[in-house]
């Protein structure tokens, strides 16, 4: 089987060193890599044909990145498609399903043999005149209008929810096929949050690039900004100081803490266990406020900058953070442990929204959703970059793949993140906020991975001959994981939907971009 190239997290390589395979070879490499070698699709995307070093005037480039988690290696290859049709790998590689749908939508390529070729974000193709569904350039593309999977039968009914939901939450459409309370099938249609970020990134960086990164998924500002910074640093050869690496790590873990703690509170709220709901609701704010101490913004805006960080951490701040964190640790422990000691909570969490390990593997899940199925997968461990090269974090797992496991993994990670931050504060290297990130290497490509609180964030940056972005691909962890929520609901109760949804708490805007 033809080999792809090999790279590592955050290492730039010349485009010419990314093996360009014939379409059939490329397909074979991808299928073989996932099916036979146990690799995982990290990213698979289209690009203008000249963006990936191709010369064909027509057609598009396809680029795929596969992860070999056990060895910390990334395998990469590309091909040129004629830009009209391509043979789907989904019959053999389930986890490519959404990637192919996305390529189809963005570049107007039809994937032959794709079992479920539907739009993802409901927009026109980037290539005028090419549309995978044969729609004209001025056709209206109403969101959420698609051929939903339907179950027929006398007692089967359909429940449609969204895009506007009951709570304060981002928009998405959920279509349930139910038999009474029982859910036979759930289909999720997103795209309502589509703001055109990837399209706007081409030709950058511009003065808007950082805001795009910081708001791609605004609750993951640090995670996405770190992946971006890592990509730019690799392409420009900037050397980040030890201080900046440590501050980034602290901020990334604070982001994890705020979200994990907030979600455990929200899970408790969804089952009306109010003590944990209210304590964690407040404690989430305490972690956001710690991030605001670092950089003035509760969401970490302005903190991560290519070349380092926008703000350093003074010794007064270190002291202050340490004492706040110590107090928060006691409060969080008390608030969360109530969950595990309350039978009514366990009764609602256990066995609800189960995803099997096989399904989790097949879908290529990432983050706590994967780890709750017993999968050892964590960028900080498998593809360490920055501070995580020096501090080795064990991967936290649970084994039932249900709401309880997802909640419990979060709790394990909360404890670990607090310890990590405290140890970083103890040995914080002095000085060095930001090194200048110079011009980026032309005709190059880099894959940058970060473990955000939802899981693996993957950015792939490609530069043109002038060292500008010819393509910038963002994969939020939610992109891998949304389908798992649909599976978690299968054969469950429709009334469990809010609880299941919150246990994943996936990003709509991070998916829709």
């Amino acid at each position: 089987m033809t080999a792809g190239g090999t790279t590592r997290n955050g290492r730039a390589l010349a485009l010419k060193d990314v093996p360009s395979l014939e379409p059939s070879q490329f397909r074979g490499w991808l299928v073989n890599g996932v099916r036979d070698k146990g690799r995982r699709v990290v990213s698979y995307f289209g690009a203008a044909s000249n963006a990936a070093g191709g010369t064909a005037a027509e057609g598009i480039s396809l680029v795929a990145v596969l992860a070999d988690d056990a060895n910390g290696r990334l395998s990469i290859a590309r091909t040129i498609s004629d830009g009209t049709t391509f043979e789907s790998v989904v019959p053999e590689v389930t986890q490519a399903h959404l990637f192919e749908r996305e390529i189809a939508e963005q570049y107007g390529v039809r994937f032959e043999g794709h079992p479920w070729p539907k739009p993802v974000r409901f927009h026109h193709s980037y290539r005028k005149g090419y549309d995978a569904w044969g729609r004209s350039v001025d056709a209206q593309i109403p969101p959420g209008v698609l051929d939903f999977f339907r179950v027929e039968g006398d007692e089967v009914h359909e429940v449609a929810v969204g895009p506007v939901h009951a709570g304060v939450i981002e928009p998405g459409h959920f279509r349930f096929q139910c038999h009474g309370e029982q859910v036979f099938h759930l289909e999720i249609a997103l795209g309502y949050q589509h703001r055109g970020i990837e399209r706007a990134l081409v030709g950058g960086p511009t003065k808007r690039t950082l805001p795009y990164m910081e708001t791609a998924a605004g609750d993951t500002t640090i995670g996405h900004a770190m992946a971006y910074a890592q990509a730019v640093e690799a392409l420009s050869g900037a050397v980040v100081s030890a201080h900046a690496h440590a501050v980034r790590g602290i901020a990334l873990e604070l982001e994890r803490l705020a979200n994990h703690v907030g979600d455990l509170g929200a899970l408790a709220g969804d089952i009306a266990y109010l003590p944990t709901a209210s304590y964690c609701g407040r404690l989430r704010g305490d972690f956001l406020n710690m991030t605001a101490e670092l950089c003035g913004s509760r969401f970490g805006r302005g903190l991560v900058r290519p070349g380092g960080v926008g703000f350093d951490l003074s010794s007064d701040q270190v002291r202050d953070l340490r004492s706040r964190l110590t107090v928060a640790r006691t409060d969080v422990t008390e608030a969360v442990e109530l969950l595990w000691e309350t039978p009514s909570v366990r009764e609602r969490f256990e066995g609800t929204g189960t995803v099997s390990p096989d399904d989790a593997e097949a879908l290529g899940l990432v983050g706590p959703a994967a780890r709750a199925c017993g999968i050892q997968r964590d960028v900080r461990h498998d593809f360490p970059a920055g501070i995580y090269r020096f501090v080795h974090l064990p991967v936290m797992t649970a084994h039932h793949g249900d709401v309880n496991s997802r909640a419990y993994v979060r709790w394990l990670e909360i404890q670990q993140s607090i310890s990590f931050i405290l140890s970083q504060l103890d040995g914080l290297p002095a000085n060095g906020t930001r090194a200048a990130a110079g011009a980026m290497r032309p005709d190059a490509l880099v894959v940058a991975l970060t473990e955000g609180w939802r899981g693996e964030i993957c950015h792939v940056a490609m530069t043109d001959a002038a060292g500008r972005f010819s393509r910038y691909k963002i994969i939020d962890p939610s992109f891998h994981n949304w389908f798992a929520l649909a599976l978690a609901l299968r054969d469950g109760q429709i009334s469990d939907f809010p609880l299941c949804n919150k246990s994943f708490n996936l990003s709509y805007c991070g998916h829709d971009l």
Binding site: R121, F122, H123, P142, P143, P163, V164, A166, G167, V168, I169, E170, P171, Y192, Q193, H194, R195, G196, I197, R199, A200, K207, R208, L210, P211, Y212, T215, A216, A217, G218, D219, T221, P275, S278, Y279, G281, R282, R284, G285, N289, A292, E293, L294, C295, G296, S297, R298, F299, R301, G302, D331, E334, A335, E337, L338, E341, T342, S507, C509, D512
Partner: protein, 260 residues
């Protein structure tokens, strides 16, 4: 059970004293209302305007900063050679009119309370339907946080409700993506009149970082009439609360200064 009671005792009462008492302190690096000193601008200098990601700063005439576009990043402050722009700790930013958000060095005309009948109707009970229309989930989160014990907007009679039919108005975040335009319009139509609309965050006011993208509509005023603008990216919860309370005429300082 005993543990739950002990935890209750230990976690204590956490609702802040504000607005009767002092607001929670802002962190040292917090960026609130910008203070402009146009007198400091060197002739022809455009350093701030050139780096502003959302073109919130105009330098065609005297220095002007549009809070409705501002992301409260630090680019302009860093770029300015004369320290003509500085972010203060002032969290009060909400206005009733879009044009009031353009700062030129004058005091920001903070939001007045709703007029007569509306104020009587909503002043002590305001039910809002929150619609995220392309927001990045940071604005949503800090709107949501007002419902937690620390902020507890319920004490002012403000509630987020599940159905537009139960609402007195909409609170909108996000630039209004094309894909949410219709849903937003329909949600608005479903709110019984009289109704109000509140735009929270740079996105909902101007499109924020996405302004100009064809995938969105540069904010909620492209679709609906707006009664209150709350700037920020995202606005601090205190800024949102301050805006809501001002709109309802619930702040002491509003009562002390009768409106003309």
């Amino acid at each position: 059970m005993l543990k739950a009671l002990l935890a209750r005792a230990h976690q204590g009462h956490r609702t802040m004293a504000y607005p009767a008492g002092a607001p929670p302190p802002m962190p040292e690096r917090f960026r609130g209302l910008p203070a402009l000193d146009p007198a400091k601008c060197p002739e022809g200098c455009r350093s701030c305007a050139d780096v502003c990601p959302t073109d919130a700063i105009a330098k065609d005439g005297p220095l002007a900063l549009d809070l409705g576009r501002c992301l409260f990043c630090v680019e302009c402050v860093t770029a300015c050679p004369e320290a003509a722009i500085a972010f203060t700790h002032d969290t009060r930013l909400a206005t009733r009119r879009r044009e009031d958000l353009v700062l030129t060095g004058q005091a920001l005309p903070l939001a007045d309370a709703l007029e007569g009948k509306l104020c009587r109707l909503f002043g002590r009970s305001l039910n809002l339907r929150v619609v995220s229309a392309g927001d990045c989930n940071a604005c949503s989160s800090d709107v949501n946080v007002l419902g937690t014990v620390g902020w507890d907007v319920g004490r002012f009679g403000i509630q987020y409700v599940a159905s537009p039919r139960h609402a007195d108005g909409l609170l909108i975040t996000g630039p209004v993506t094309e894909n949410m335009r219709l849903a937003l319009q329909r949600t608005y139509d479903a709110v019984p009149p009289p109704k109000i609309v509140i735009a929270v965050g740079a996105c909902a006011i101007s499109g924020g970082p996405y302004a100009g993208h064809p995938e969105q509509h540069d904010g909620a005023s492209s679709v609906l009439p707006i009664d209150l603008f709350i700037p920020g990216c995202p606005p601090h919860p205190l800024t949102i609360l301050d805006g809501l309370l001002r709109l309802l005429g619930r702040l002491e300082e509003q009562r002390r200064v009768p409106r003309g």
